[in-house]
């Protein structure tokens, strides 16, 4: 693999990692803690959406994030010819 495509592969990886980590922080530190007051208007089962994110939603989002990243990277690996044969 040439250096150029190697750089492009790594850049694409960093990009998807950054996007994923922004979502990761948003659902836990954001919706679950800091932004909870903003979500207090959205009731869910006797409490508010922030509480749900802190005790359920963040965990479920984490799972989706990891599987999406796995799927995305497998595609990227093949695209750049760096997958494991």
């Amino acid at each position: 693999m040439s250096d150029k495509s190697s750089d492009a592969y790594w850049k694409a990886n960093i990009r998807i990692i950054t996007i994923s980590l922004v979502i990761w922080a948003l659902v836990s530190f954001g919706f679950g803690i800091v932004l909870r007051p903003l979500l207090s208007g959205i009731p869910i089962g006797g409490t508010d959406l922030g509480f749900w994110f802190a005790q359920q939603g963040s965990i479920l989002t984490f799972i989706v994030l990891i599987f999406y990243y796995t799927w995305y990277m497998n595609r990227l690996d093949r695209e750049y010819g760096v997958d494991e044969q």
Partner: protein, 594 residues
């Protein structure tokens, strides 16, 4: 059949299963012993990782931690699961590509420095030994409670079983026993939770039940819980109390600490491919989430159950009838059973024959009017919640036996993973990489088994004579993992230029500041009375508790490393090439032994 016989049969059968698996999965080579020959299916590895990660603390204590604090302790849920995102995105695939057996292996080779390797080995040993003490004492307690032997006998039985399957099978044996242990613990945890959810809300899934209507009162479960807690003078369950900054940093420390724990990281060395390492982290989180999304429901429902057990009568307004609590003579059998263990205790201070349970520090108006003499449920150990769940839900004896087996499975699976991390650090990183590089494959395997034996003996000894500071030391383990190993590994992958001087300085600064901060508030080496400042929120720097400092230590680690890097020469070209190669998956198929 009485409960004791049932417990004996269920626990005995689970142990026979573990030993049977160990004999089937004997390790013949160091690759078997350290990494199960990298032949583990990613889903199986996910389940094994889940059992490895979920310790006695997750299984027994977590629901109680949430039940008695409410929203504020959501930090444990987010922190202990969010770390897997960091593992999957930032560490696991690259460490698998690197293709060695241990964490110090990576740090030593990547930073071409025996000093870096040694710092990594020392942090690994301190954090893993710390952790294993808790598992062994947990196993001893579970034994003594359910099998009616004393705690030391229980501990010896537990050590013997771990010794058989860990020494014989190494990573290979541990992996497949952890798979079996995961099945035992998740079934044991879920069954009582489902029944309690059905009883309180009519919902089958506890995750849904938590946000559903409480059948008896017609109110949402959490609204009802908030209401009764406030009535008794406690803080409401769903409210945000305490410092937001501290909550954020504590969650962050748990996340980074989780991703930096060596016994979790080495599990990702066992899968065949780099893509499997990513996938495996996802499956691990699925299996962990099965317990972690149920735990908050168990916590909230059990808390409500306890209160409505003590105050069974409701006024026309829907409030609790505080004047007519349950009498001591009428309390349910599970309370009587658990009183015998000393973990639950009542004291009829008012001498009126009924149980008064409320918050003394903020008593309800009626308590002062009627001159109550104080809270009479004087002891309620939080660990009871999960263990007593089947009795609270009035489930048959075999479910109680299953909880015993589940608690033991959680403790033993984590202990085995930790013991493997300890023994490989000694035999591989100390003996093979630093003291005697010429050691033969057979010699190294023998050394690994002997150091495993020593590690078990040490863990048993510490379990029998637990240092008084065991609880605080767990904070140190997470702080160490977060402030030393995680940043070093991450920079090793994401910064091609990072050199050995930067990494070593970073690790020492991270470790040093974290240890210093913890010791300032908890005492030097946790010796009571040697702390320089009282451990209260007023004294904490910016309101950051010593338990939350790991994240700050990690930031200082990164900062120090980059400052030193700017002043010194970047890593040599061959190291930069090594980093290039671990960034792409191709070529990971063959396991490199060195």
């Amino acid at each position: 059949m009485d409960q004791f016989t049932l417990n004996l049969i269920v626990v005995g059968a689970s142990f026979a299963l573990y030993v049977g698996i160990a004999i089937w999965a004997r390790a013949g080579t160091t690759a078997d012993f350290y990494a199960a020959s990298r032949g583990v299916n990613p889903i199986v590895n996910g389940a094994a990782t889940a059992a490895d990660w979920m310790s006695a603390a997750s299984f027994i204590s977590m629901a109680g931690l949430i039940a008695f604090v409410g929203y504020g302790n959501s930090t444990f849920l987010m922190g202990w699961t969010g770390g897997y995102v960091l593992l999957a995105l930032l560490l696991a695939p690259y460490l698998r590509k690197f293709g060695r057996f241990t964490v110090p292996d990576f740090i030593g080779d990547r930073f071409y420095s025996q000093t870096a390797r040694l710092v990594a080995v020392v942090s690994l040993l301190v954090m893993s030994i710390t952790y294993v003490i808790g598992q062994m004492t947990g196993a001893g307690v579970a034994f003594s409670r359910f099998l009616e032997v004393d705690a030391s006998t229980g501990l010896f039985i537990a050590s013997t079983v771990v010794f058989i399957y860990a020494v014989l099978g190494g990573m290979k044996g541990i992996t497949y026993t952890q798979l079996a242990q995961y099945c035992v613990l998740i079934v044991a945890y879920t069954i009582p939770a489902v029944f309690i959810s059905l009883q309180l809300t009519g919902q089958f899934l506890p995750q849904i039940g938590l946000f559903s209507t409480h059948t008896e009162s017609g109110l949402p479960l959490l609204t009802k819980l908030d209401q009764v807690l406030v009535e008794l003078g406690f803080r409401d369950y769903t409210g945000h109390h305490g410092s937001t900054l501290n909550m954020v940093l504590f969650t962050m420390s748990l996340m980074i600490g989780t991703a930096g724990l060596p016994h979790v990281i080495i599990r990702f060395f066992t899968v065949p491919k780099v893509s499997d390492a990513r996938k495996s982290a996802g499956w691990a989180l699925v299996f962990i989430a099965l317990l972690y999304t149920v735990a908050p429901a168990v916590g909230a429902m059990a808390r409500l159950n306890i209160i409505t057990t003590i105050y069974p009568n409701t006024l026309a307004t829907g409030e609790l009838d505080l004047e007519n609590p349950i009498s001591y003579a009428d309390k349910p059998q599970w309370m009587v059973n658990w009183e015998q263990t000393g973990l639950l205790a009542f004291e009829d201070k008012a001498g009126d024959g009924v149980i008064r349970y409320y918050n003394e520090a903020n008593p309800p108006a009626i308590a002062t009017e009627q001159g109550w003499q104080g809270n009479e449920m004087v002891t309620f150990n939080q660990d009871i919640l999960v263990l007593a769940n089947p009795e609270i839900a009035q489930l048959p004896g075999w479910v109680i036996a299953l909880i015993a087996a589940g608690g033991l499975a959680a403790a033993l699976s984590t202990a085995a993973g930790l013991l493997l991390a300890i023994s490989s650090a000694v035999s591989h990183d100390l003996i093979k990489s630093m003291i005697n590089p010429g050691i033969s494959e057979k010699g190294e395997l023998l050394a690994a088994r002997i150091s495993m034996g020593f590690a078990i003996a040490l863990a048993t000894y510490l379990g029998l004579n637990p240092p008084g500071f065991a609880a605080q030391v767990v904070a140190l383990a997470f702080g160490l993992a977060a402030s030393s190993l995680f940043p070093a590994i991450m920079m090793g992958i994401f910064s091609k230029k990072m050199n050995s001087a930067g990494a070593v300085t970073g690790m020492l600064v991270g470790l040093g500041t974290t240890v210093l901060y913890i010791f300032t508030y908890l005492g030097w080496f946790f010796i009571p009375g040697t702390n320089m400042l009282a451990n209260t929120a007023d004294n904490w720097l910016f309101g950051i508790s010593p338990l939350s400092f790991g994240a700050v230590g990690a930031i200082l680690n990164f900062a120090a490393a980059y400052i030193v890097l700017a002043m010194t020469r970047p890593a040599p070209p061959e190291i930069q090439e090594l980093v290039e190669s671990i960034r792409v998956p191709r070529g990971a198929g063959t396991a490199q032994a060195h």
